[in-house]
Point group: C2
Chain length 457, copies 2
């Protein structure tokens, strides 16, 4: 890269927007996927407007520089890991909530707005931004759209895509596209919004979004915590509870090894159970619906179902689920995986993971967004740094991916393909699937400059 070319980029953007200092650049080179090493970026741009993004992309296009876009850098699949010589494009400073329209149940935001901030702003109008990844207080709306992220409330409200109405996207060559419908319904033209949702920075850069809000459920939530003798029993009870139509907001599972990790940390005695389910119900007749779920849990083998009497008690029950991840972090480095299967296959997948752990002597603790069939097996390993992932861990993770595919599931329910799963993607998509996706990629990014080497690499 000639210095004159880089100077052109600097000149085309506001003062201070381009970072070239190597130490500062390093802090932009990776997301939270700490199992991956990053390449050295050429430079980083901290955009403050769609115009900034357009200028940066036009420059990259003219100079054939690959571009890695990042929101808040909270990704877990290496989607924002820097590749050598890339231009990092950070949207973290595009963090303004531009409008909330309470009668139309929409908000218009810049891509860098933090999910939790948007949800709190919506709450002031009696509304809610439904997408709630566990990272919601550190992850951005734009990043979550670019990965079509999930979350705990998905079991009721669906994935991020369901909350996105329209987008402003800067294309690979710097053109600015406004696409989608601000309205509830709209079928004019092809659904480009869906295409950009979950495209992991490979088709364009999302700079603004109009997202849907929903009425915030009233009243206290009712929370249930149920220990089961076995994981099989717990996951069978989840299926039975889901068939009741009780419309829970949460339906979470923790396996025995996760409970053991919490016990080891907190001195509790959860791991006498073979698995535990946490559920929550909000809104009309929450108590009545929670009671139906409690009955299904009893019938499924839970002798002692705790049901919260008030919000504070509910928070105490949820706090147990929140301990799952920090309890594991104490034990070593973590490779957090993410497969999704038909709900009826959850129990099979847990047996498969248990057998794998036993046969190979691996430490795998699993939590699941069980109502959605979304499993997070967390592989724990030792090593000088998190990037020292032992081969047997990668092999075991690969076996879990393939088993998920074999039973009708997918490689990734909510974290994305990123860098970590790109070598498995073709197995899921099939030959024609890969051909079609590559054709669409070429149509939108003919030079292949947007997040190269990620997702459909």
């Amino acid at each position: 890269m000639a210095t004159t070319a880089l100077q052109e980029l600097i000149d085309s953007l506001p003062p201070g927007a381009v970072i070239v200092d190597a130490d500062v650049l390093d802090s932009y080179a990776r997301d939270r996927t700490d199992v991956l090493a990053a390449g050295a970026p050429l430079a980083a741009v901290t955009a403050r407007s769609t115009d900034d993004v357009a200028a940066a992309l036009a420059w990259a296009h003219a100079n054939d520089v690959p571009v890695v876009t990042r929101g808040a850098g909270s990704g877990l699949s290496g989607g924002a890991t820097a590749t050598p010589g890339c231009l990092i494009l950070s949207l973290a400073k595009m963090n303004r909530i531009l409008a909330i329209e309470p009668d139309d149940f929409v908000a218009r935001v810049e891509a860098g707005v933090i999910n939790g901030d948007l949800d709190r702003a919506a709450a002031a109008h009696g509304l809610m931004y439904a997408p709630d990844p566990s990272s919601m207080d550190i992850s951005s709306v734009g990043g979550n759209i670019a990965t079509n992220a999930g979350g705990l409330r998905c079991v009721k409200y669906g994935v991020t895509r369901n909350s996105v109405r329209s987008l402003t996207v800067v294309l690979a060559d710097g053109r600015v596209l406004r696409t989608g419908h601000d309205t509830v319904k709209g079928v004019s033209g092809l659904d480009m919004v869906g295409l950009f949702c979950g495209s992991e920075g490979t088709l364009g850069v999302i700079t603004e979004a109009t997202v849907a809000l929903v009425p915030r459920p009233g009243g206290d939530p009712v929370t249930l915590l149920a220990p089961f003798p076995t994981a099989d029993a717990a996951l069978g009870a989840v299926s039975a509870a889901m068939r009741l139509g009780a419309d829970p907001e949460l339906m979470e599972f923790m396996d025995r090894r996760t409970l053991q990790a919490i016990d080891d940390w907190k001195g509790t005695d959860f791991a006498s159970a073979g698995g535990m389910v946490l559920a929550q119900v909000m809104g009309p007749d929450a108590a009545g619906r929670a009671e139906k779920i409690a009955q299904a849990f009893h019938a499924g083998g839970a002798d002692d179902v705790a049901v919260s009497d008030n919000a504070a008690e509910g928070e105490q029950l949820i706090a147990i689920r929140r301990m799952a991840y920090p309890a594991k972090e104490r034990l070593g480095h973590l490779l957090t995986e993410d497969v999704c299967v038909p709900r009826s296959q959850l129990a099979h997948m847990m047996r498969f993971i248990d057998d794998l752990a036993a046969e190979r002597g691996l430490a795998i603790c699993t939590v699941a967004h069980a109502g959605d069939g979304n499993l997070h097996p967390v592989f724990i390993y030792d090593g000088a740094t998190p990037t020292d992932v032992p081969d047997e861990i990668w092999e075991a993770a690969g076996d879990v991916f393939r088993e998920a595919l074999r039973v009708g599931g997918t490689l990734t329910g909510e974290h994305g393909v990123g860098t970590l799963k790109r070598r498995f993607l073709a197995e899921e998509l099939g030959d024609v699937g890969v051909e079609v996706q590559r054709a669409v990629k070429r149509a939108l990014d003919p030079k292949g400059l947007l997040n190269p080497g990620k997702a459909l690499a």
Copy 2:
């Protein structure tokens, strides 16, 4: 077209699958958009399998023959109107429900299955297929996916896209693509399912789908019917009711002229109101939620809100809404339009339509899926045949489209662009939008043989 080429098509398909008789062909040449004249097709194929569709498309691709795909032919925008010399591809006989998986809340169906049939099959498992276009007993699942159709229950369950998990699609050259995720969540690869949903036969031919089912709400629905002094008051009350979070399944509006048409037919006295709203609530605490809506209607100016005490009474109230369309059919030929606006703009749009009707002496009766901001102004006109649409009707419809766009709405909420609205589409998409959609179209159908002249023509 050489006879030998057509003979190749006949030889590549099961006996009787290819129709060349002109009279029979004519019955395949149009959908329910009776305002449009159709061209004469070259031939029609009645497919019974994905293989049949693949053979037909491979032949069309090799011989440069345009292909117009049809499901049940219930479309209202001319999406399935034959173009001269095209091959009609009918999926009406691919009407098998292949599987219902009650634990996973999914069904696997061929594209020609009638929506109502699928919903009834799901009901046997305590489940529901949520998409419910008014045409649900005559329209097909595949056709509704290809138009991303709406329906009355959208206000609660969202559009058809939200119910589609994975698709089998035959591409323009005959390759067979399996795409999407059968699971609740899945973010591996680009969202091709969304791209095919609503693509109106221009990107590929959907032959099978895995669709989501939902638990069927229990208990009796509670139905409300509220006459308001003015349309403004009615639509204001709709907004107020939506903000309660009472989660209605229906929230429908009828304008005074629609009520007058019913009165003229049935001798009722509805048109003493300036507008009427029909709402329905199902599931947990339906009575309590209905009461909240009734209070909002009272507060909004409805003196006399009818609330059903039982299912039969609810049906009587809904029957009034069902009269809206047949009451208009008595008055002349109908051009049924379909725009969607932010809900806060509904009252403005009704005033605009009222003024247009008054200024130009036109008969326009409007119903709306008001909870979604989706208006159906129905233009009534005289003429020897439905295709004799007077110029002033097209002009008025165009003015309604442009006003909807001006206030942040869209040309079509649920019917699709088809033939009727293609000349307006570029106004909504903008230059970059058109370029991007054309690039995607070229990537998937480089010869431009799939439904040419429709949608993004």
